[in-house]
């Protein structure tokens, strides 16, 4: 069994898939190095799942090319299938069958003899903490257990590339942590993982590189750190005592920070909160210095600050800036312009 630790696990160029009139994937180029975790980040309907389904040989691309470990996903689909495994958004196991039956079935289909299949099923159930539920039907499993049996099924033959399509959607925090830990262990063993998610902290925690996808296109690509710094060196979050003074505070911050602002000062949904994204590269002054200067100016104007924080921008902010979507309709128009320029600097 040859396991490339260097080289490319996935290469796509100009990948397109159209359903009826909608272009679900509109020209996606991806390069994923073997042995890494790569995150596809995007909102619902961005085209993440469609990309994964094409790479997993479940869908034929309408245009473009995709290779998995150098093999074309259309012409050489069978060779690709021998090395990849997919955990879809919905449990890819038979709900009517028990945990053991599902794993034995799959082990037999992957070529194990009957005794070997039974042995393998037992070992997997043990490793995933499902031994007690081995003889229960999957439909009686909890959400977290379902996810685990699903991943257990996916790594039955230790794939070289594992697709995880929104692996933690709908899971409680504890189950989510378990899944994250499993993914880390699987990757540590040498399997490449392509992960889709709409949770930014998930991509941040697990993925070495991230592609942000929206409307079927990659709008940004890089390490989590690169993506964050593309939106600014840091964010100053301020909470005022008096909501009525917010407009004034906004003016003070805009004037004080001036060219150091990466985007117009943002008014949060919370009526006393404001956020200013500070870019470090416009002036020589560090983000922290900019922030303290701004706070001093607020005090000088007699605006009381109840609470403030300075942080690296979260991936949420990156995401919202890049996808032109915000939860607050009032700020949407304001962030639109700078977000567009951000796109160019990232791409």
């Amino acid at each position: 069994m040859s396991r490339e630790t260097s080289g490319l696990a996935i290469e796509t160029s100009g990948l397109v898939k159209t359903f009826g009139k909608t272009q679900a994937v509109a020209g996606v180029d991806l390069t994923v190095r073997a042995g890494t975790v790569y995150g596809l980040l995007g909102p619902n309907g961005a085209g993440k799942t469609t990309v994964v389904r094409m790479l997993a040989t479940l869908l034929r691309p309408d245009a473009g090319e995709a290779r998995v470990f150098g093999r074309d996903v259309v012409r050489d689909a069978d060779a690709v299938r021998g090395r990849v495994s997919l955990t879809g958004q919905y449990a890819s196991v038979d709900e009517d069958l028990t945990g053991t039956e599902n794993l034995v079935l799959l082990a037999r289909l992957l070529g194990h003899t009957k005794p070997a299949a039974r042995e393998r099923a037992a070992a997997l159930l043990e490793a995933f903490g499902l031994t007690d539920a081995a003889d229960r039907q999957i439909k009686k499993y909890s959400g977290g257990m379902r996810r685990r049996i699903d991943i257990a099924a996916s790594i039955l033959n230790t794939p070289d590339l594992l697709f995880l399509d929104e692996p933690t959607t709908g899971l409680d925090p504890r189950s989510r942590n378990q899944v994250w830990e499993i993914i880390r262990l699987v990757v540590a063993h040498g399997t490449t993982v392509l992960l889709t998610t709409q949770y930014l902290d998930e991509a941040d925690r697990l993925a070495g590189r991230i592609a942000v996808i929206d409307h079927g296109k990659v709008i940004a690509e890089g390490t989590p750190g690169e993506l964050k710094s593309s939106v600014g060196a840091g964010s100053v979050h301020v909470r005022l005592r008096d909501a009525e003074r917010r407009a004034e505070a906004e003016q003070v911050l805009t004037r004080t920070l001036g060219r150091a602002l990466a985007a117009p000062v943002q008014l949060e949904a919370d009526p006393v909160a404001l956020t200013a994204r500070v870019s470090g590269d416009e002036t020589d002054r560090a983000a922290a210095e900019q922030a303290s200067h701004a706070l001093a100016e607020l005090a000088r104007h007699g605006i009381t600050v109840d609470d403030f924080s300075l942080g690296q921008p979260s991936l949420d902010e990156v995401f919202l800036a890049l996808t032109d979507r915000t939860t607050d309709p009032h700020t949407a128009a304001e962030t639109l312009e700078p977000a567009a320029t951000d796109k160019e600097t990232v791409a």
Binding site: L58, R81, Y90, S92, V93, D96, L110, A127, F128, Y141
Partner: protein, 285 residues
């Protein structure tokens, strides 16, 4: 365990922490085993169908209660009017009603395929490096078991009602085998519709639209002599008519060679056409 409100799964979930050791052990697989043969993969999928019957035995209702009702209903409904007596009519009707019940049962194949697609398990099967038609053949192998059960149920009811076939046990068994084999071939029509149509309701609708004319406009209930010419023309080309003639021939100990040739030829044609269409849809899905 600590409080009454905790669900039964909670303690197990809380106890579980992925361990690098045990997970590492299962991941260290070594050499991947060679791929299973087409035959072995199909049999494994057939085993899956049997497991589903084991877990959801209600589905056997279709192949036990339904055939009993059909047999009793038609025997007593038409027996007196058409053949003078129930025991006389059952000699004519039984092979036909067996064909009708089993052929009607074939539509559940389409429903099973359609419900599986809705669920993620189908994606798993389609990403496996196995002989492509294996999942479909597996469904049909499971269904062949159901067809055998339906045919056996009807035979038993028939024997109770006074069915005494001249062909003896051999004739009855070969007749039933022919019916199950043809139904296997015919089921490829439903695997195709199962993949093609969007919901199980539409699969059901189409199945009814195909099955009712095919089974009723045949020689199952009455001899076609009294039908108008255009209808006789349809009945004569209907493969179900030939199947019924062939099964009747076997059971009566008077094999109908022409009908047998027809049945084998139409079965092969069904697999060739609808098997190909099914696999095309399966690969494109």
């Amino acid at each position: 365990m600590s409080t009454a409100t905790t669900t039964t799964e909670a303690p197990a979930a809380a106890a579980y922490t992925p361990s690098a050791e045990s997970l590492g052990a299962v991941l260290a697989l070594g050499e991947r085993p060679p791929r299973p043969s087409a035959f072995s993969a199909s049999l494994t999928f057939g085993w899956r169908a049997m497991l589903k019957i084991k877990h959801v035995p209600e589905q056997l209702f279709d192949v036990t209660a339904f055939p009993i009702i059909m047999t009793l209903m038609f025997t007593f409904l038409f027996g007196g009017a058409l053949a003078g007596s129930v025991s006389e009519y059952v000699q004519f009707l039984l092979p036909g009603i067996m064909v009708m019940s089993v052929v009607m049962t074939t539509m559940y194949t389409g429903l099973a395929v359609n419900t599986d697609i809705e669920k993620g398990v189908f994606d798993r099967f389609r990403t496996l490096p196995i002989w492509r038609p294996a999942p479909m053949v597996g469904y049909l192998l499971g269904d062949a078991f159901r067809y055998t059960m339906a045919a056996t149920t009807i035979l038993i009811v028939g024997l109770i009602l006074g069915f005494r076939p001249d062909g003896g046990p051999i004739g009855v068994l070969t007749g039933m085998a022919l019916l199950v084999a043809f139904s296997f071939a015919f089921s490829w029509v439903w695997t195709m519709f199962g993949l093609l149509l969007r919901s199980d309701k539409s699969v059901m609708g189409v199945s009814m639209m195909v099955l009712f004319p095919l089974t009723f406009l045949s020689n199952i209930l009455v001899q076609p002599d009294t039908m108008p010419g255009w209808l006789q023309a349809f009945v004569d080309v209907n493969p179900i008519t030939h199947l019924v003639a062939a099964v009747r021939g076997q059971m009566a100990g008077d094999p109908d060679t022409t009908a047998l040739v027809w049945v084998v030829a139409s079965g092969a044609a069904l697999i060739a056409i609808f098997g190909t269409l099914t696999m095309r849809l399966y690969n494109r899905k």
